[in-house]
Symmetry: C2
Subunit: 106 residues, 2 copies
């Protein structure tokens, strides 16, 4: 299993609508990716490594798929629509990485 | 639920022993945190946002706890031992952030 992590770097004065992200954007991603997205998780950044320090990322999602290929094939036909929805909840540019799930949730 | 994400930024020529991290370090963390660590997950970075691009993080773990306070109380007495184990698998300095789990694994 792999996970595609989409991470939104914290910036002061940036806009991020967590409710839209949770209630509209991520369900759209799930619907468009279909069964290629086994499930997804969403995080809201609270704090960095020291008390009071801003988190590195204001929000993240992690999209779990069987393989990188499965993700790419499912995402490509809907890339424009999914990426085009980003301005509806943020003016941040996300950082993306794909990881192997070495230890998953029990 | 909150998650404590410990993220190791990718650097060329850096050392990271994924097997030690999975088989020794993270089980040590689980044992020392006890029931405060509900579970944890481990990722190995494969690729960044473009094919062939290095991932932002070579490895990550996510430690799930009921609250920030529960994590802090469980971690503090073992901080020296846990942090002291880091050089056994890497020469990287991790980035830490705590997030609220907005959507968890189904």
């Amino acid at each position: 299993m792999i996970k595609v992590s989409v991470m939104y770097p914290h910036q002061s004065n940036a806009r991020f609508d967590h409710a839209y992200y949770r209630d509209k954007h991520m369900p759209l991603v799930q619907e468009r990716l279909g069964s290629a997205c086994r499930f997804y998780t969403v995080d809201k950044g609270l704090v960095g490594g020291s008390p009071g320090e801003a988190p590195t990322y204001v929000a993240m999602c992690h999209i779990y798929c069987d393989s990188v290929d499965a993700f790419n094939k499912a995402f490509a036909p809907h890339a424009n629509e999914i990426l085009g929805d980003i301005p509806n909840y943020t003016d941040l540019t996300p950082v993306l990485q794909i990881s192997e799930v070495v230890v998953g949730q029990p």
